[in-house]
């Protein structure tokens, strides 16, 4: 991953690990061929990370533009938003983009958990 991010401040770390207000949720879903899409909004980076976890039978549904805007405007993490913008603007496919976003978000969560003194999940 070629987007080193400055470690977040303690205050930002808590925001990265928190839940945003309902009105600020990020629309998302999940597609399972051949049976369809189910809705599933996201209200935290942790939820987003689970949504994007690779699965060989279904696909997460996220609008990358809306995601970058959400991270910047709602979560308030410009570093992560920039990294996501660069990554999602340079992917071989939507699924490739999902993998890369998954890794970036995972890295940012690890940084935030370390700073916040939380258990770092593996």
């Amino acid at each position: 991953m070629s987007h080193p991010m400055t470690p977040p401040s303690e205050e930002l770390s808590h925001r990265l690990l928190g839940t945003v207000p309902y009105k600020d949720r990020l629309p998302a879903g999940r597609l399972l061929p051949p049976v369809g899409i189910i809705p599933g909004d996201v209200r935290s980076l942790g939820e987003l990370h689970l949504l994007l976890a690779p699965d060989d039978r279904s696909l997460p549904g996220v609008n990358f533009n809306a995601l970058v805007d959400w991270v910047e405007r709602v979560i308030g993490d410009r570093d992560l938003a920039d990294a996501l913008r660069k990554t999602t603007g340079n992917t071989a496919s939507y699924v490739d983009g999902c993998f890369k976003v998954y890794e970036l978000v995972g890295m940012r969560l690890t940084q935030a958990r370390e700073i916040a003194g939380q258990e770092v999940l593996t």
Binding site: Y22, R30, L31, G36, D41, L50, L51, Y94
Partner: protein, 714 residues
């Protein structure tokens, strides 16, 4: 002359009198089986077809099989159809349908029955014990209150093994060899199988709109609220044990067609194409929305099916649940899960909860998001306008899932207001505006949007609103899932848009044969006569082939297949099409078009019942949000790819997100649809001329007597 494929008898259960009466199947043979026979039986036995709530004592519920059940026809042997007036729809609970898989329908046929007609109401809870031609009504007082799994275990215990039965392993070498004469009849009356049980749980006992029928661990008839219908009749369960068999007309023809299916249409195990574009020919795989909890698992199928879309796991949870049941709690579970494994466990254990309560989780598809919206907006909760003592802060946890399903099943907390239907609850709570804003996405007839938004995928939405429920017929939408997945992976497009629509058009006989434009869902074509023909074809195809012959919805129709050199799928083909299997089993000489025509008759019989219930074209419309808000890009997925023609007439896959329906234009489209169906364009009621041409004078007479016959138009 034997009725090949049929058991020959239909069981009529009069719960009021506790009588079991035999109906000859022959009388209903013209309707094929399944839904068609069920509609005809409902027509004959329901004395008041104006009822609009399935819990009314006059309601008649039919559990129907098909001639193909119990045979080896691929993905057609194990489905079962349920019909009757439903519960919880809005504004009217229509005469409707549901279906489930497993082994109930086959066992019913091996017991000698083509279906069950349930009427009346028992004075106290009963379950029905069917063992071949022996039918008894048994006391269910001790089963009442038990969940669906405990109920089945208790019935299996009660049925037990007869004391004289040999149930230890036998040494085959020591068994006496019987002559053919001695063997005659020896296979009758004994079985190694458990009985097949269809039952309700607490949601059904309390007659809530969310109640389903459950068979084994995870086969459910969810939509329609038929669990509530059974609860209203004091019917807890039906157990069937059959030891007979089904005679088929031409066994060699079945084997031949099945071998053609394997060799021509199905993906090869020797040279696997893991990304083939096909429905019937795909590799077996579980249909679950989460990662499997373990690799120590085995596929589980409906009887005779080649797919295995469900799974049993050695971890002991999530067994046999599939599709939406495995995801109803998905986005909420993510709030508390610390890992994908924990996410899986919460989701699959939540699936177990709805199965045990006999609860239709499909209502949570968009419904739980609406409840969350009410909670987050400060409208629902302790001391709020909509009072609820449920611990909403804990949403996402397993204890909350159980408390919520319990409340809605037991009619406690908000469950008291929701028992008659979700839109009814919204109105009671003064939240009709949520149907305008889209906060409550219940698109048609008080039922949630399915994931194929009517603003994008027209045949799904239009078919649902012209019918009686969320159509849940996956005839065409594999185009969306397959093509969108290819776009998502940037994989090669195996079938380009123009070829895709042409492959379909070859098989859309008779209304749309050779008319690829019926699949053009572009803005310019979305209210056209062509799209109306597509919707007609889908409704008629499904009423017969899927819902009466009981070909599985997820495998049929098979329009295209990258497994074949010319990319044609099995549907309507002369070597392994639906009609080939039907004829091999029944001895009929049915053409594919005959099957579509029979579906049209069944569809018209259903519409006659809806009109008697009070249907008028003025109430045939979507929830307001479908007209008033756009299906935003990225709302659920980044794009919704579908073949459309551009301004120059060139076919290409196009994203259908970002639009709403136009109310006025949709009304014009309805007029086109009614004209094509031969229904009165002002009312939507069938006309005498239409019905009589289909040998349905009886329906025209009944409509006329009720003052509901459609006027003839020039």
């Amino acid at each position: 002359m034997p009725l090949y494929g049929y058991a020959g008898k239909i069981l009529r259960l009069d719960l009021t009198q506790r009588k079991a009466i035999v109906i000859e199947t022959e009388k209903y043979r013209r309707w094929g089986g399944g839904h068609g026979m069920g509609s005809a039986l409902f027509w004959d036995f329901c004395k008041d077809k104006t009822i609009t709530d399935g819990r009314h004592p006059a309601n008649v519920c039919c559990i129907m099989t098909s001639p193909l059940n119990g045979t080896i026809v691929p993905s057609a042997g194990g489905r079962c159809e349920v019909v009757g007036v439903g519960v919880g729809m809005y504004p009217i609970s229509w005469f409707t349908r549901s279906g489930f898989g497993g082994r109930f329908s086959t066992m019913l046929k091996y017991a000698g029955w083509d279906g069950i007609v349930i009427e009346g109401k028992a004075d106290k809870p009963v379950w029905v014990d069917i063992r071949n031609d022996q039918v008894s009504f048994r006391d269910a007082v001790n089963l009442w209150g038990k969940d669906t799994w405990t109920t089945q275990q208790e019935i299996w215990r009660q049925i037990g093994i007869q004391p004289e039965t040999k149930h230890q392993w036998q040494d085959l070498q020591e068994l006496e060899l019987l002559t053919k004469e001695q063997r005659k009849g020896k296979d009758q009356g004994r079985t190694t199988q458990k009985s097949a049980i269809l039952t309700i749980g607490p949601a059904g006992e309390n007659q809530t709109a969310h109640a389903s029928l459950i068979h084994d661990a995870g086969n459910g008839a969810g939509q329609g609220g038929f669990g509530a219908v059974w609860g209203s009749k004091n019917l807890k369960a039906i157990s069937v044990l059959g030891t007979g068999s089904i005679r088929v007309a031409d066994p060699k023809a079945i084997i031949r067609a099945r071998m053609v299916t394997k060799e021509k249409y199905v993906s090869s195990w020797e040279r696997p194409d893991l990304r083939s574009w096909t429905r019937l020919g795909g590799f077996p795989r579980p249909i679950i929305f989460v990662r499997p909890p373990t690799n120590d698992r085995r596929p589980q199928s409906c009887q005779g099916c080649i797919n295995g879309c469900r799974t049993r796991y050695n971890v002991g949870y999530g067994n046999e649940s599939s599709c939406q049941e495995t995801a109803w709690y998905g986005s909420f579970a993510r709030k508390v899960a610390k890992s994908p494994a924990e996410n899986t466990e919460i989701n699959l254990r939540s699936a177990d909860i709805v199965q045990r309560y006999g609860f239709n989780s499909f209502l949570f598809q968009t419904g739980l998001h609406w409840l969350e919206h009410l909670y987050e907006e400060g409208l629902l909760g302790p001391g709020k306008k909509i009072h609820s003592d449920l611990p909403w802060k804990e949403i996402g946890t397993l204890p909350f899932a159980e408390k919520l399903v319990h409340a809605l099943s037991a009619k406690t907390d908000i469950g008291a207001d929701m028992a008659d239907g979700w839109v009814q609850a919204a109105i009671k709570w003064g939240r009709e505006k949520d149907l305008h804003t889209g906060a409550m996405q219940f698109s048609y007839w008080g039922i949630p949007e399915h994931g194929y938004d009517p603003r994008a995928e027209l045949e799904w939405g239009y078919g649902s609103i012209m019918g009686d429920r969320d159509t849940n017929t996956h005839c065409f939408n594999q185009i969306f899932t397959t093509v969108s997945a290819a776009f998502a992976f940037a994989m090669p497009i195996r079938i380009e848009a123009e070829e895709m629509v042409n492959l379909h058009a070859r098989k859309l006989s008779p209304y749309a044969k050779g008319r690829p434009e019926v699949l053009d869902f572009s803005d310019a074509n979305m209210y056209s006569e062509a799209v109306a023909q597509l919707v007609r074809w889908q409704q008629h195809y499904c009423r017969f082939f899927k819902q009466s012959a009981l070909f599985c919805d997820l495998k049929w129709p098979d329009f295209y297949s990258t497994n074949t050199p010319n990319l044609e799928g099995a549907t309507a083909s002369s070597d392994a099409g639906e009609q080939v299997f039907w004829n091999a089993v029944t001895g009929d000489k049915l053409t594919f078009e005959d099957g579509i025509e029979l579906g049209r008759k069944i569809w018209n019989l259903d519409n006659a019942i809806w009109v008697l219930q009070g249907r008028h074209r003025d109430i045939v419309h979507f929830a307001p949000y479908v007209y008033e808000t756009k299906y935003e890009k990225g709302e659920l997925f980044p794009f919704y790819m579908w073949p459309c023609r551009d301004e120059k007439g060139k076919w290409q896959y196009t994203d259908l997100m970002g639009r709403s329906l136009d109310r006025g234009k949709f009304e014009e489209w309805k007029t086109i649809f009614y004209k094509l169906e031969g229904w009165n364009t002002k009312t939507g009621s069938p006309k005498r001329s239409t019905l009589e041409k289909m040998d349905m004078k009886f329906a025209a007479d009944a409509l006329q007597a009720a003052g509901r016959l459609g006027e003839e138009e020039v």
